[in-house]
């Protein structure tokens, strides 16, 4: 990860920067609130927070166009918020309520939106990778010009089905962007202990799939790489790999004390590479916004998150007959 250091003034408008700031802040505040509700016992089971990785989805969503698809693993709240799914609906799913996006039947790891082209929310590590290639297969079959962002982590990158998928995506020229969100820890196992290659995207070369490393703490770098990958896919040149180096501040899930890394390591990333602070610096040093402007955004986001939390508490539990619905279409 590059240090949060502004070397040159990026060619980006104030509005664009503010949008990224707002979207990343929404994810962070939402996740903090989710952590809080978990602590209060309102959210149960597994809950994987996205804090620290916000620039990845926000940057890539900025490179997508209407109709493009996305699919990811169980660490999915950020992806859903970034593609425009309702924060209240997401939070109410976390609390297992009727107003949740899956009517309370999916939980933190399983939400979907046909409208926003978000295809889950998958709990088996790596299983979303062939599914994502399948979405791309459907786009190619229908010749609709769509591209699918298939997100997975450095942990999933050691699953065999990922490479089965690389092979077929390459021979069939599927319009799929494999986004490896490399947060450096597969649950508690560091990449150095689990993965034979330092840079995972190199594995794509064995299948003839081009790829590159992206600084996942810099939303502008992510967006630029995303645009390049999208152009490659839309031109019919087949899949592309983006290995986005990022960092999760929290444990793997809520019950992970994260003893496999030092507090100093986490603190260093937070102080030097935080993706939100990066955009904040760009906004302030570029005189695109004042402290007061940013405070107003903070307030606005806080309000959105508080409303989502309120909704998630007030929405009733699903009616008991929901147990037996949605098993067959």
């Amino acid at each position: 990860m590059a240090a949060r250091k502004i070397t040159k003034k990026p060619n980006v408008s104030a509005e664009e920067l503010k949008t990224y700031y707002r979207e990343m802040l929404l994810i962070r505040r939402f996740e903090e609130k989710a952590g809080q509700l978990y602590g209060m016992g309102l959210i149960g089971g597994f809950c994987h927070l996205y804090i620290g990785q916000e620039a990845v989805v926000v940057g890539l969503e900025a490179a997508a166009r209407e109709g493009d698809k996305r699919i990811t693993s169980y660490r999915d709240h950020g992806h859903m918020l970034a593609c425009g799914m309702d924060p209240g609906g997401v939070m109410a799913e976390l609390t297992g309520r009727e107003g949740g996006l899956s009517k309370g039947k999916g939980g933190s790891m399983h939400m979907f939106s046909k409208e926003k082209h978000f295809y889950g929310g998958h709990g088996i590590v790596g299983a979303q990778v062939p599914l994502g290639a399948g979405l791309a297969f459907a786009d190619k079959y229908k010749e609709n010009g769509g591209v699918t962002f298939t997100y997975f982590g450095d942990g999933a990158a050691n699953q065999g089905q990922v490479y089965e998928t690389f092979n077929m995506a390459a021979i069939w020229d599927l319009p799929v962007i494999f986004v490896i969100e490399n947060n450096q820890y597969a649950m508690g196992t560091s990449q150095a202990r689990s993965t034979s290659t330092k840079d995972i995207y190199h594995r794509g070369e064995a299948f003839g799939i081009p790829g590159e490393i992206v600084n996942g703490m810099d939303v502008l770098a992510v967006k630029a790489a995303g645009e390049k990958a999208v152009a490659h896919c839309r031109a019919g040149k087949g899949p592309y790999i983006l290995e986005v180096k990022t960092y999760r501040y929290r444990g793997h899930s809520m019950s992970d004390p994260a003893k496999y890394r030092t507090r100093e390591e986490v603190q260093k990333v937070r102080e030097q590479s935080d993706p939100i602070e990066h955009v904040r610096d760009l906004l302030l040093t570029g005189k695109h916004a004042t402290e007061d402007d940013l405070k107003a955004i903070d307030k606005e986001i806080k309000e959105v998150v508080n409303q989502a939390a309120e909704f998630s508490k007030e929405s009733p539990e699903p009616s008991l007959d929901e147990l037996w619905t949605d098993i067959y279409a």
Binding site: R29, E32, K33, G35, Q36, Y38, G39, M40, G41, L42, G44, G45, F46, I51, K69, G100, S102, K103, K105, G106, H110, M111, F112, S113, K114, Y119, G120, G121, H122, I124, A127, V129, P130, L131, G132, A133, G134, A136, F137, A138, Y141, G160, Q161, E164, N167, M168, I171, G251, M254, S255, P257, A258, R263, E317, L320, W324, D326, I327, Y328, A329
Partner: protein, 457 residues
Amino acid sequence: MATEILMPALSPTMEEGTLAKWLVKEGDTVSSGDIMAEIETDKATMEFEAVDEGIVGKILITEGTEGVKVNTPIAVLVEEGEDASALPTSAPAAEAAPEAAPEAAPAPATTAAAPAAPAVDLSPDWPADAEMKSETVREALRDAMAEEMRGDEDVYLMGEEVAEYQGAYKISQGLLDEFGAKRVIDTPITEHGFAGIAVGSAFGGLKPIVEFMTFNFAMQAIDQIINSAAKTLYMSGGQMGCPIVFRGPNGAAARVGAQHSQDYAAWYMQIPGLKVVMPYSAADAKGLLKSAIRDPNPVVFLENEILYGRSFDVPQLDDLTVPLGKARIWREGSDVTIVSFGIGMQYALEAADKLAEEGISAEVIDLRTIRPMDTGAIINSVMKTNRLVTVEEGWPQGSVGSYISSVVMQEAFDYLDAPVINCTGKDVPMPYAANLEKLALITTDEVIEAVKQVTYR
């Protein structure tokens, strides 16, 4: 406004913990993400972060306190200029987790004291005067796919050797010529991967038919079949279904050894969200496959290599469909009910023929669909014959027959005049040697013997 900070639950099962250490003191300013305290549970010591900004107004629980219940106020966070002492000291109860649901919804009744005869669909699947023509199961399956692909552009076939090779068992013969490489797709040998891609394409709006060269190889893909295809509709609250057919030969062929000879009917039968079909005749193979392709749910369609070349009369209709979930009575009888499906039907029907010569009248039911199962047809028949034998090629423990036995015991116990007998394959991996293989499989004689036992002959 001042807010109380509550003792957090740090795992799905935590109820209380030790407040091991405060990392902030009264008067400190914190912002969200700052570590405030260390909390010890029975599993680990966890750091506890601030989720809001503010000033630590008051610490309510001193460090080292054990057995602090989740949701107990442990500190008060105030805004600048605010006084912590002005706060109420007890946490509002409204924030606590909701109580568990008072009463579970009643499960659909599976027990009944004095059952009425269930309503059973006994309507014919095709008009009695339909013109019939002898066709093999192989031809019937191919025609079913071709007809559905002609009718719906979104239907495509994917699998190993389905296109240029014309199918490992020649089920897809001619399809590449008619529909082209876009819709008849050869895959590499990579079941887990292509099953996942096909499921993804179904989420994306297509209607894939996935051919497994045999269902033995589908074990590599079973995670995608169950976790991705079968469960997504439920997990999405009904938003995203998966219209897909997984088909291919299932069960023992001949002399191919343990890894290539296994019946998966009982495996897939267990999964809510899946439909499971296992046809015997060519007409059913065609009509059921066409229905399966049109069905909006994932369907596991279990064929049999030995049956592929067998001929049956097939009605010559423009659009022959057989509904999923409906059994077929092949032969009416009064002394005993024999229930089977797939190749098991061969033994059931042969046994019924021989038993008739001995004056025992067997009613033979072909389930055709294993899930949803037409248990009504079985119960109805048992109420008439009072005796039941099930026949399948799979293993005995957790067999389809054992499930049928339990349903019949619960719903028609008073009608049984003898214990139900499940005729199954032997409880061994399939041997290679010809004589041992024959011994491992179910035989017609075993079915006859079972019928004689339940009829006390």
